[in-house]
């Protein structure tokens, strides 16, 4: 028999002194009474004292049993604890203890992490000359000792102290760390890795054996709650669009139902000081979203948390999610083009009208579109841009390229419409100016002007390989094919794959294989390239054009203005502060309660002010303040994948963790323990309710005894 909380027994033993103390302390202090007829009292006492002593012993015994039973119930005895997998000839062992958020899941009153600790301690108690280490695996797995050790008591103490963190599990790193520890003692007998985890599919689906040596056995001790743990999780809080001052913000709260039955719950959104509520029905194993319309009168930050009210699920920690959204002013677009802004029918005219369909009547109100000639580029003009649109700029001067590159690196998004031969050279120059920060997925080749666009002998190109599930095409849904059918382009820049480029950054292609739309991160900004001259395509006449440009602009602006999801807890992050923040002077980072953060390391560079966060803090909202003014805010939380408690498929995991050249005979190199016997394990853990029942029985018997021996 093993215990989930052996300490409870010690506490219980201490508590056992209580009834004795109560018995002694509550004995009445006798009053002195001189008495004449003591002989009659004596004979009465002789008869009565036996019964009184019997009653006292009985009551004391029952009270002690009652407390012992309560202590035993808290200790969670496992009557049929499964045997540990000691392995043959194992002399080195690393125990990976999953301390991710999902280990806080509870079912039937049993915490997964308690079972994990009990199981890890059983392995540690084996001793027998083993050298062992423990890796506490969260977002940053860490080993208790730097090398394997025989100091098992210290490891046991460390395991007992361990608590689940609000982090996700980095299983790959944990396994790599374990392999590294075992490798340091290679040649000293067989190695073993014991992974005590809930084996979440989201964490383990892509984990392979990696650098593990072939002579290392892997034992996975499954301590999860089974495939249907019945959990609800807030998987995301996001702004549907960029939030502008004076316009309502639409916040989308997504709830994921990781349970086999539909759930009807209430979602509460607390934004700044206001609270909103909405009922939501989550179908089994699916997600549902609640949309909240928030007024955003002034520019600034909307911070707060969404939570599921009375979730009654396995993992309460993921029923709340923090967010921080920037409320910006109406965006300003700067169009860098040689086109005459007053001339109707140019591609810049079309772009301007798409970005700002209704030109503002007043100079100060609404969206602004500024036209800047590439020959007269100045940093001041470009700095006004929330989004820089480059269209038909001709060959850009090096100073202009340098300005655009600087803007990109500091976080300004750039939408580049590349349709002329000069654009290939401009993009190449931009790549050079950005250095390592810009890796284009393709190389552009200029076309030669031998025939007019759309003329005889030139074939129009249509869009294909559109990534319909990603922005900016996601919004069109299933109609994306129909909408893009009529879009034809001539004389695009031919592209060829760039070595080292990421094909994922190509969002759509032309029918000749050239990249049509690319979304490339550059430093702190983004560069979105449309390959094709607008006037040499049917795009401006397409209904698709308006929506596409708007979506592209939204995507770029959203990336700039902090509508990102919460940062994962426990990771190292570099956060680029908005371009408006030019100096670290007077900056401080505070948490939601206004307490300053110690690990706020601000750096100034050419790209702006960077906040280096060595380890992101616990879930919450953190604000960068300058004086009393919030210049930036960010939320931290555990990735929503931790809410999915479904375990990985045992066979697949065994196949991935098995060595390619496993030696014949001996024990299998990979074993997963406890998955098949979940029900049995749960049953074993369910002993505690019976002990509680026994405690209640002891209490009732005590009452009966008191009644029976009543004078």
């Amino acid at each position: 028999m093993s215990m989930l909380h052996p300490m409870a027994l010690l506490i219980g033993a201490g508590l056992l002194t209580l009834p004795v103390a109560v018995h002694l302390l509550t004995r009445p202090r006798p009053l002195r009474f001189p008495f004449s007829a003591l002989r009659f009292l004596d004979s009465a006492l002789k008869q009565r004292r036996f019964l009184a002593r019997l009653r006292d012993a009985l009551i004391l015994g029952l009270r002690a049993l009652l407390l012992a039973a309560i202590a035993a119930a808290f200790a969670r005895p496992l009557l049929k604890a499964p045997a540990i997998q000691t392995g043959k000839d194992v002399t080195r062992r690393v125990i990976i203890l999953d301390v991710s958020r999902s280990m806080n899941a509870r079912k039937g009153g049993v915490l997964a992490f308690d079972r994990a600790k009990a199981q890890a301690l059983r392995y540690l108690r084996q001793g027998g000359g083993l050298r062992t280490d423990v890796v506490l695996a969260g977002a940053r797995p860490r080993a208790v000792f730097d090398s394997l050790s025989a100091n098992h008591p210290a490891l046991e103490a460390e395991v007992r102290r361990a608590e689940p963190l609000e982090e996700e599990l980095d299983a790959r790193t944990a396994l790599a760390r374990a392999a590294q520890l075992l490798e340091s003692k290679a040649g000293e007998g067989r190695g073993q890795i014991v992974i005590v985890t809930d084996l979440q599919e989201t964490n383990w689906h892509d984990v392979s054996r990696g650098a593990l040596q072939p002579d290392v056995d892997v034992v996975v001790e499954y301590v999860g709650l089974g495939p249907d743990a019945g959990n609800l999780a807030l998987s995301g809080v996001a702004s549907q669009r960029r939030i502008e001052a004076g316009q309502p913000a639409q916040i989308r709260v997504e709830v994921q139902n990781f349970a086999g039955s539909d759930q009807l719950r209430t979602v509460e959104l607390k934004a700044n000081t206001r609270v909103y509520r909405q009922d939501i029905r989550c179908p089994a194993w699916q997600s549902a979203a609640a949309l909240f319309d928030l007024p955003a009168a002034d520019a600034g930050w909307i911070t707060g948390a969404a939570r599921i009210i009375e979730a009654r699920d396995a993992l309460p920690a993921d029923d709340i999610r923090y967010f921080a959204f920037c409320v910006g002013q109406a965006p300003a677009y700067v169009v860098l083009s040689l086109d005459d802004p007053r001339r109707v029918g140019t591609s810049s005219y079309f772009l301007s009208r798409m970005l700002c369909p209704t030109p503002p009547s007043g100079a100060a109100a609404g969206t602004k579109v500024l036209h800047v000639s590439p020959d007269l580029v100045s940093a001041t003009e470009l700095a006004q841009a929330d989004l820089l649109v480059v269209n038909r700029p001709g060959r850009l001067k090096p100073e202009a390229v340098a300005e655009v590159a600087a803007l990109l690196l500091r976080g300004r998004p750039v939408f580049y419409v590349a349709g002329e031969p000069a654009d290939a050279e401009n993009l190449s120059a931009l790549k050079t100016a950005c250095g390592e920060a810009l890796k284009l997925p393709v190389r552009f080749t200029a076309w030669t002007a031998s025939a007019p666009a759309g003329g005889a002998g030139e074939t129009g190109l249509s869009l294909r390989d559109i990534k319909a599930s990603t922005d900016p095409f996601r919004v069109f849904g299933e109609s994306i094919g129909r909408l893009t059918d009529g879009v034809i382009a001539w004389r695009i820049l031919k592209t060829s794959p760039e070595p080292g480029g990421l094909p994922d950054e190509i969002l759509a292609c032309w029918s000749d294989g050239s990249a049509a739309v690319m979304d490339v991160p550059v430093g702190n900004g983004r560069l979105l390239i449309w390959n094709g001259d607008l006037l040499r395509s049917t795009l401006p006449r397409s209904a698709f054009f308006v929506a596409l440009v708007r979506e592209l602009a939204e995507r770029l602006l959203a990336a700039r203005l902090g509508s990102q999801d919460a940062l994962p807890v426990g990771t190292a992050r570099v956060v680029q502060l908005p371009p408006e923040v030019e100096s670290t002077s007077g900056l401080k980072v505070v948490d939601a309660e206004g307490r300053p953060l110690d690990s706020a390391d601000m750096e100034e560079s050419a790209a702006g002010v960077t906040w280096r966060w060595t380890t992101t803090g616990p879930p919450g909202v953190y604000s960068v303040m300058k004086g009393e003014h919030t210049v930036f805010a960010v939320a931290t939380d555990c990735p929503p994948s931790e809410g999915d408690l479904r375990p990985a498929k045992a066979e697949e995991l065994v196949a991935r963790l098995a060595p390619l050249n496993a030696g014949p005979g001996g024990s299998p190199p990979v074993r997963i323990v406890g998955m098949a016997g979940e029900a049995e394990r749960a049953e074993a853990a369910e002993v505690w309710p019976w002990i509680l029942v026994a405690a209640v029985v002891f209490f009732m018997v005590e009452l009966c005894a008191l009644k029976l021996f009543r004078v």
Binding site: P30, R32, F35, S36, L41
Partner: protein, 292 residues
Amino acid sequence: MGVLSRLAHLRFGTKHTVEGTYSGRHRSRHRGGAAEFLEHRQYSPGDDVRRLDWKVLGRTGRSYVRLYEDETSLVATMVLDISRSMLFGARSGRDTAGSKLDYARCICAALAHIIIRERDRFGLALASSRLNTYLPAGSTSGQLDAVLSAIERVEPVPDTALSVPLRELFARLSQRGVLIVVSDFLDNDLERLFAAVKLFRHRHFGVLLLHVLHPQEERLPTGPAYRFEGLEGEGFRICSPQEVAYLYERRFRAFLTGLRARAIAAGCDYYLLPTAVPYVQHLKKLLVERHG
């Protein structure tokens, strides 16, 4: 004075015949030529011929002797139990007010007053496990003073064995009369006590047992726990009264019943005098009953 006036109309008497030195209102056990005719008895040789009833002889020719009953004064001896158990109910060690002993003193003084006032003789014996003090019977006012003085100076003794002083007293009393024992009868050996009492009865003493009883002897006090300390050096017992009350009271009732039965069997008059009732009320009932 109030008490004395309430005792004024009370008289102490006995239904037993007594031997007195002086003529009095009590029946003498001597039959003879005094005042009141009792019966005729056939003459037998040796009878005093002066007592022959000549008229009957003349009428019937048979000789009968006239028998008369003598009336004489009463000799009452009171045995007062001065054991420490009689201190039960006292306010404190020094102040015996409210105790059984205090109650018994009152009874004793009242009876002494009544008896001596009637020109009968009253004697007092203060007894514990021996005869501590003995005042031979007397009927003078000086005797009353002596009695009152003796009971005033009583020093309780931590032991009770009344049989011993009773036997001692029996040896000292030459005249039959009335023996009044005022005690709580918490004696170590009741068998021996009644054996001693029976000696008196064999000598035709009228024996009156006055049992002084404190209410808290019958019924234990209420409360969570008490340290019951024996008044006669029996040590102490700590217990919760409610735990033993039932058994104790049952045993005490059995003791009272047994004591009464023994007294009646021994031909004694037995009176239970709870101290909760004023002693004058007891005396009224006791004395009126005896006259009635």
